[in-house]
Every structure is written in C-alpha cells, then in structure tokens.
Symmetry: C2
C-alpha cells in the first residue's frame, strides 16, 4: 500500500459503486413516532384504514332527522307537521326508531337515528313543543355523511414513503392512530482533520483557521434526511484519526471525514482505512473533489471528502446525499431541485474530468461564480451547480444549462 | 352579547384586522442557537464578519513559497536553483524571511512567509537536500489566497432573515461563530372542543369520533414556523373550555381553538371570550369557515376555527399562517407556493362569499375535489386551493387559475 491513488474512477462508475455499497451495507430502518410530532416524517409502510369514516351515518347540519317521504310537498305555506320524539347532540345518540310521521332533533355530527333517511335543516323547519313544521321538501340522503363515505375500512389510506404533512397527519388522527412507523434517519458522524483547524478549546493563533466542514457537512446530512450525531475535529495524526473513526463508528451508521485525503503530505485517512478496514475508492475523475475516499470498516461506510469546504460539500451533494435520502425514504433527487437557466457567461472546464461549477440564479440566468477554489463565500453565493461532462471544454454564454439546486426551501 | 354573529367581515377586512392585531400584540423574539443545530433557523439580525478570511495569505498548493522574480526564465532544461531555508505545514508558520535566491517549502493552507510573493507547485519543482530546482516560471501571486479575499473583516456577511442552509452555516463557522441569534418560533396551543371528540383516556363508543384538529392544526402551525406546545381536547362545556384556554394562554403566545364557534347549540367559545376577554371578529364572509372567531385575552390572541377539519385547516392557512410566518421571520407567503393551472372542470361558488375550493394538481391541470364538506380525505387528496372572489359564481373548465399550494416540500 502507500499514498498513491487507486485507479481513478469515472463519475458514473463511482456513483454505481457507492450506491451498491450503500445497498449492501444498509437497509432502511423504522422508528415509531407519535403522530402529533410526525411533521415531515416519512411513512415506513402502507397504512390501511382500520375504521370507516365517518364511523356512522352522521348529520352534516343542525336540523331534524326524518323520513324524506314525510317532507314531500312541504312548503312555507303548507308545512308538513311531524312529531318530534327525541333530541340528539353530537357525541351521543338516540336509541329510538323513527316511524312515519316522526322526526328527531339532531345536531351537526350526531348519528342519524334508525328509520331516518334524511335531515331537514333547522333553517327550513320550525319547532313548537313536540311538533315540527317542515317548510321545504328534502330528498333522500340530504345532509347525511354516509358511514365510510370519506374513508372505508380496510382500504389503503396512505402509501409507504408518504411525507407527512398536516393534512395527512389529520387523516391518520381521524383513524385514531397515535403512533406510526416512519423511516429512521441514518446517523451520521462528521470528522474534520487538519493541523490548521482550531479545536474548540484552543486559542486562535497565526496559521490556524476555524473549521467549516463539521457544521456544514452535518447540516447537509440533516438536509437530506440524516441525523447528525457527533462532530469532531482532529489533528493530522494517525492515532488520533483512527480512534476518532472507531469511536464514531460506534455512535453512527456512516462516518464522514474531510481533509487528509490528498495523495501528499498528511494523507492519513487512507492509511487508517487500509489498516482497520478497506479502501474501495480513492480518487474520482471530478473537479473539484478528485481525492475523495470511500472506505468500509466493520460493515459501515467511512467516507473521506476533500478538506476544502466547497469541494467537500459538492462531493457530498453529488455522491453521498442521494444515498442518504434513499435510506431516509426520500426520492434520491427532488424534481423541484432541477432548474433550467441560460448561462450568463462562458464556463471553462478541464477536459478529462467531470466538472461541477457553482452558479447563482437570477431571472433565469445562471451566473458562474468565479472565486478561489477554497472560498466559502462562493458556496454561500451559489444557488446550485452546473455539471460539465468530461468531454466538454466549455459551455458558451447564452446556452441553456441544467442547474441542480442546493436548498430545499 | 349573545350567540349572534358580530357584523360579518369581508375577507380583506378580516385579513387587515388580524394582521393589525398580530402586529399590536406580538413582536418577533430572538433565541440563541448553537450553529451546529441551526439548520433552517432564520437569522434575527445582520451578521458582520469579525475576521478576514483567509485570516492570512494562505498557500493554495503544496510547493515552495518564493519571490516570483527568482523563477523567471526557469525551465526543465534550465531550472533556477533556490536555497530552501525552512519548511512550513498547515497549522504552523515560519518566522523566517525569504530573501532573493531563497524559498520555503510550504503545504496547502499554510501561511505565506515574509518576503515571498508566489508559490511554485511541487509538481514543477525538485528538492535535493536544501536546494530546490524550479522547473517553470511562476507569475506573482500564483496560488496564494490573499488575506481577506474570501471575506473581508467588518463586512456584511449574511442578512437578517437569511434562512440557514448548510453552506451559510459553513460561512458562519469559518468566522468562528458558535452561537447565533435566530427568530424564536411563536408558541402555539391548540384546543379542540366537541362532545363527540374522544379523549385519549376514553373508550370508543357509538356517536364519538377521533379528534383531527389538535394534531392537524399543531402541525400546520409548525409548518409555518410555529412551535406546537400543547394540545387539548375539551367537551362543549363553558367551564372546561375556559380553564383550558386560561391554562394554554400561560404556556403559549397564541391559542387556537376549533369547534364551538357556530351561532347555534354549543357556541361556547364566544361566551368564554366575551367573559374573559374580547371578541374582535365573529364571522367572516368566506366558504368554508364562516363562523371563525378572533378574540383577545390578556394581550394574546385566542382564535376560534370551525370544528370541521377541512374548514379549520383552510381558515388557518388563509388567515393565520401568514402572520405566524411573519413572526417567525419568514415571508408571509412563499412565492414557490403559488402555481398556475388549468381548471379541469367547472367550479361553482356561492355568490356573496369568498370561496376557497380544494384542487389536486396533475400535469398543470387543477382538478376540483368534490366531497362532503367534512371529508378529511378531501384535504389529503388536495394539493392546494383556488380562491373564488365573492362576485364570481363559477369558473369554467379550461380557465387558468392560481393555486395556493399547501405543502412546503
């Protein structure tokens, strides 16, 4: 072994290998969630209705439950007169049966009593003692929500992978469901390596910088359905990195490192993974992000992103995020995250490598962001990236490009 | 006093009154959040940079820091030879000064030593003991990220109301910021009233139904930037509702009730609010949702939505959500939530009231959902609603309509 790259992988090949690895090593897990706290959770299985809704024939209005035939011909001038034999409010019921010439006073939401087939609204009725004057004829089934008309028992209610929105949460509540199996967010640990990175307890000194990648990658993982469990900053030190990875593997499903991946001084992640596991990919034919590492330790993935925050986030979004999304029950890529725009100025690319170039969107224009490769502001300014295939050396001003958007707001 | 509606308000008037009330009674509050947990939080104030980034002139490559003039004319055949006087890794620094004919070995990320104005990449240099053979001429400033070139000190970094995405979190991290003031989510309590609603500890019996609104409205409030603090189901009982409202007012900024608002049997919310506070609106000229109540108690809003879950959610989205969003630092309505579509079949409306009609979107068609007004599935099927002004009696098949979308996925 040594510090040289393995055979550099093309983007499609790398994507295939990574997807296969994810599928081999992980399967989606479920977790029970109280539905009152289930906003944006993803259903782990199809949900069938267990009761009819409404659970009984239910009055849609305040009025009188009756036999519709008893209202035929009624008018304000010539009301039909019925005998009111009971009164029923929502939440209770009447056990009397309505016979011809009878009615029962009923509130919205109360069960329709036996013998009735319709409801006459209170607005078209008048009650005097136990006599009710029906002022208008009503057809059968008027203002009755029939048992099961909203949802029938034992029918598919919501499909697996439904993302729970307030209305869907309402549908589950109506069935009396209190807890629901949802996709469990895979746990992600993030480790940043670099002697130049200031640890939390260290004083700032010349030559040091604040770490970006733990927070940025943790939150990128959250944005695609992961749970960020632990962040750690370690020095470019074999033992320190090794013990941090081993600790993180215990706490999480996937460990994402950044820094220490270049084939040069400080290429320690490769050595650690060679020793405690296996390196599957070291090097992808892509710009930025060539020195990416995909390794496997104890049946879990350990991913090495470049130290440069911009490269790290782009590689994460392109190669890792779709797989985390799939584990979390989401679509690999949201359709809404692809925009078409016109390139505002010529974009150059290094031939021979797939290139991801940051752009800002303004009025359907994709404006390339040209900054130092390490500039964190270039990411904050960008709305997404344009993919330039390896055979393409430039895309000209005015050409239509597809922009993959970062944000899911 | 009494159970009659106050003067029914038109939609625009009601909207104005509600917005004014929100602005009178509430102002946005801030809360400190650790930036590692700040995904989707909203910045409460402009953030200025407190340090230059990079904080020093930083090498972008592994190589040799030198005076560019010392490389002029260098080639593989005729290398320039420099004396290597030190070596500097990222995270440390050299306090030596480079004089003419000298260079310092440097790693990516390390500070450029005094006297150097450029970096020669390791790929175009050869080192033998303390002699370095420069094989290619480099211009001044080659592969140096100048101090402050990414972000200058004391400049606007991120604006108030920026929603924190992973890249923006990265920008804050690069400044060494650990905590940040964000908009505090207003606290919302939800109370469902109705004798027909089954409480958690009650056995199902004929005439009862499971409550939908506590969970649906709580999660709708969360979807627009609220924090759901407490849910309660109470009977149509004056004392029970009153004490529930008083308890909820202590725990939350806004109390949202549903049910018990109709001008009929069981109109108890109005009575409670008349007694312990003030009713500002009772009745909006809108379908569904006419019996909506807006009240004020102890300087906080108590809102009465209809008991029908579909009406309750629509009224919430139309009249309440934009105000909660504003308090949470968000735009009142997201632009992305308005879609234009072609109506798939004629929509009728009751003249004289603004109507909100549920539609499903399919291939740019808006398909009206025609179900019983209480059918919770109609909401789950719907993607949004079409607004029909009160002067319009029907919108014909084939007409273009604007659909306000419910979901923010």
């Amino acid at each position: 072994m040594g510090t040289e790259f393995l055979k550099i992988k093309e983007v499609e090949e790398a994507n295939d290998i990574i997807k296969k690895l994810f599928n081999e090593l992980y399967s989606p897990k479920s977790e029970e969630i109280a539905i009152e706290n289930s906003y944006k959770k993803v259903l782990f299985q199809d949900i069938e209705s267990s009761i009819d809704l409404p659970p009984f024939n239910r009055s849609l209005k305040d009025g009188f439950a009756l036999k519709s035939v008893d209202t035929f011909g009624a008018s304000e001038e010539n009301p039909n007169i019925l005998k009111c034999i009971d009164s029923v409010e929502a939440g209770s019921f009447s056990n009397k049966t309505i016979n011809k010439g009878e009615c029962i006073e009923i509130s919205t939401g109360a069960p329709i009593p036996e013998g009735a087939d319709s409801v006459a609204m209170v607005e078209f009725s008048e009650k005097e003692d136990d006599e009710v004057f029906i002022l208008k004829s009503v057809p059968p089934s008027q203002d009755i929500a029939i048992k099961g008309s909203d949802i029938e028992k034992n029918k598919l209610l919501l499909k697996k992978k439904t993302i729970l929105s307030p209305d869907k949460i309402g549908v589950l509540s109506a069935q009396g469901i209190k807890k629901i199996a949802t996709f469990k967010n895979p746990k992600i640990s993030v480790i940043s390596t670099g002697n130049e990175l200031l640890k939390d307890n260290e004083e700032m000194e010349y030559g040091k910088i604040y770490d970006v990648n733990t927070n940025a990658i943790k939150n990128a993982a959250i944005s695609c359905g992961g749970e960020g469990v632990a962040n750690e900053i370690v020095k470019d030190d074999y033992d320190e990195l090794k013990s941090s990875i081993q600790k993180s593997l215990k706490a999480s499903d996937i460990v994402i490192c950044s820094g220490g991946t270049s084939a040069g001084v400080g290429d320690i992640l490769r050595h650690v993974l060679d020793d405690i596991g296996e390196v599957i990919i070291h090097g992808i034919s892509v710009k930025p992000g060539k020195p990416t590492i995909i390794g496997k330790v104890d049946g879990k993935l350990v991913i090495g992103l470049p130290g440069n925050p911009v490269s790290a986030l782009i590689i994460f979004y392109v190669f890792i995020a779709p797989n985390i999304r799939r584990l979390a029950g989401l679509n690999e890529v949201e359709k809404s995250k692809i925009a078409t725009a016109t390139l505002s100025k010529r974009l150059h690319s290094s031939k021979g490598r797939m290139q991801y170039s940051l752009v800002k969107l303004e009025d359907h224009l994709a404006i390339p962001i040209i900054k130092d490769s390490g500039a964190i502001t270039s990411l904050a300014d960008a709305d997404g990236y344009v993919k330039i295939p390896k055979s393409v050396e430039l895309i000209d001003e005015g050409e239509k490009v597809k922009v993959t958007l970062f944000n899911d707001f």
